[in-house]
Amino acid sequence: MTRTFRVAACSSVLALGLATGASADCGIESGSVSILGNDFPALQAVVAGAQACATDSVAVTSNLTADHRDLQVAALTANPSQYSVAVVANGSIVPLMNAGLIRPLDDLVAAYGDALQPTQLVRIEGQVMAVAFMANAQHLFYRSDILEQAGVASPETLDDVLAAAEAIRAQGIMQHPVAMVSGAGWNLAQEFVNLYLGHGGSFFEPGSAAPAINNDAGLAALEALSALTSYSNPDFLTFDSNSVQALWEAGEVALMMHWGSRGAGILSGENSTPEITGSTVLAAAPTVDDAGRPATTLWWDGFTIAANASDEDAAASFRAMLNGITPERIAENSALAVWLGEGYTPTPASAGVVASAEGGAASYPMSPYMGLMHTALGDNLAGFLQGSASAEETLETIESAYITAARGQGFLN
């Protein structure tokens, strides 16, 4: 009996394999495609599209993980590289560029990329180095029912957000109404970057790698960060994206700064109640000063092709990834992200990102030394929020931590 079962199981697996093989029509003759990327629903959908190209002669594998940034440089340095495709964002393409691990895509775009919009092509020094397919940004989520109960209007500026939080707390509705992705390290640094660029600051002296954050914009960003986290749960220095989403879905917060790519999951109400999802509003990131620029940074996600992959695998990978972002597929997955390609119709889940972009939010800087600045911020902001250092001292500490790292990496002397 076991044997019959096994035979039956094997033949159904075979049938399944044949079925996907038969349904795929990506026109790839042969090659091997392996994809490294972050892990969230929109990317899973793109990769599923690429995987549909798998045939007997085309192998498609993927590794989607939150640790992709730590893996990508080592994995693509190998020759032949471990992955033929690295899905990156404007922050994470820089280390691959610095090390020359990704190839220019101009010839592949010319041969296969007719359907791509010009804005999807990320050109560095005129060469196409990545194909962007979606946009992302942190923005404001708020609960309209709680705000109504507290008697405040929908917040547009940082002061509005703080006033709303104060009203909610004062009326005893919630003790800790605000949540941000504020875990010490990369996440907390990202919150500072959002607020700092919202104040119009720039991180470096023009044309040099010397830091320039010890200024009024830096002080204002720290003050804003401290004001917002004072309305957060005291555990805020341990919050990552998942735990903040869980707080929202449990109905424990009323105002949240979170990634737009989480909007679809939150609105689907899978882990939440209709009362919470029904009153969740996605809005632009709040503005912090009179300039009226939303305090957030715009990110694109896109794919790059490894330099150390064979030309055959590179072409196969490029075409398989294009199959992940066809207009039909984008139309089908419209709710999952703010797609940049043809076929996208905006959904409620995209409202926050679109409003932030229209408000003129800055895009995340692509300087080769921004990663070091981000790390220096992440390592040293927590002390200020715990009250062990003043704002001026903290900015000074961050600058000297950055200078040490930049010297070690050869950016400064």
Partner: protein, 342 residues
């Protein structure tokens, strides 16, 4: 043993030690004397979904050339050791001048990565090691006085904390001390403070990590002491009883001296283990309040730009720290050995 025989006897293990310990340590030391090449930068125009911007990029061809010429990087002497990331003499003296009290100086010095990590690493090592020794001995004595039937199951249960993978063990505790977890909620009720959070306060985080350290290492001390207890000879114990010694006196004057070599062994292992504390910091997401030398190495190596020079320097200083910690214990053992030998 003849020298020749001894040489052939020791050769395989010496070869393995050179290959797997001495050479890697040597290469890490060499790396710690170097920093990356100067990066050749150039300004270009980048265009993307959000428009075009002027951006700086690394001139790869030029940088590549430098790298091929000197793969290790630029020789920097001991500058990695003295810079802000490590011993930070210049920063410390400037902080000393600017501080108005010793407490203020300590507070400022805690922004320096090496000294901050050192403060927690040493506190952790010197709190956990003695607690593990005493708790392990207490459990071993307790289990040893149980009726035989219960010993097996009790030993198994007592060993569980050691069987659980450290990262998983700390994650389990991390969720238990969450303000909505069973321990966190209990503490809030007991202290009647709805804002009490073990994760928010640096002091409580340190205590939590130390408690975790004791919890996860006590079984090791326990099982070693328990094995030792099986070898305590009956005669001196009976003699002590006839002399009228009570239970405590028998433990203090017969059992503990008998177990002393084991205690030294456990101390050695614990000093080494605790000095390289790492998993609980990641598991408890405690990096805002506590970092260790091993955590710093991890932090330098991951992320966008791996800082090999800084990581190598912290590794060398960790090895140096372990040597300093173990020296007194080793000297003591060596003296005992010589005394017995003559």
């Amino acid at each position: 043993m003849k020298h020749r025989t001894f040489f052939w006897f020791i050769l395989p293990s010496a070869a393995a030690m050179i290959l797997f310990i001495a050479l890697p340590v040597g290469s890490v030391f060499l790396q710690s004397l170097h920093i990356e090449h100067e990066q050749v930068l150039r300004t270009v125009e980048n265009c993307g979904p959000f428009g075009c911007t002027e951006e700086t990029v690394v001139d790869r061809a030029a940088t590549e050339e430098l790298r091929a010429a000197q793969p290790l990087g630029r020789f920097a002497g001991l500058s990695n050791y003295t810079d802000r990331n490590h011993l930070a003499f210049a920063e410390l003296s400037r902080m000393w001048e600017r501080s108005d009290s010793f407490a203020d100086f300590t507070r400022r010095a805690m922004t320096l990565p090496f000294w901050r990590a050192m403060a927690f690493t040493l506190t952790f090592t010197f709190a956990v090691t003695p607690l593990v020794l005493t708790l392990g001995l207490a459990i071993a004595l307790g289990v040893n006085s149980l009726p035989r039937v219960f010993r097996g199951p009790t030993i198994f249960v007592s060993l569980l904390p050691m069987i659980v993978t450290p990262l998983i063990g700390s994650l389990v505790l991390y969720w238990m001390v969450d303000s909505r977890g069973v321990l966190g909620a209990f503490l809030q009720t007991v202290t009647n403070d709805p804002n009490l959070s073990l994760r928010a306060s640096p002091t409580l985080t340190w205590i939590m990590l130390i408690v975790y350290g004791v919890w996860s290492s006590a079984p090791f001390a326990f099982i070693v002491f328990y094995a030792g207890l099986q070898t305590v000879p009956e005669e001196p114990l009976e003699a002590a009883m006839i002399d009228g010694a009570n239970r405590w006196q028998r433990i203090r004057y017969v059992v503990i001296p008998h177990l002393m070599p084991l205690a030294i062994f456990i101390t050695l292992m614990q000093l080494m283990d605790n000095f390289r504390v790492f998993e609980p910091i990641v598991g408890f997401q405690a990096q805002a309040s506590a970092t260790s030398l091993s955590y710093n190495i991890f932090n330098y190596l991951r992320g966008d730009a791996a800082q090999f020079g800084a990581a190598a320097t912290t590794s060398m200083l960790t090895i140096f720290g372990v040597v300093v910690l173990l020296t007194p214990v080793l000297i003591r053992t060596w003296r005992d050995f010589n005394r017995k030998g003559h």
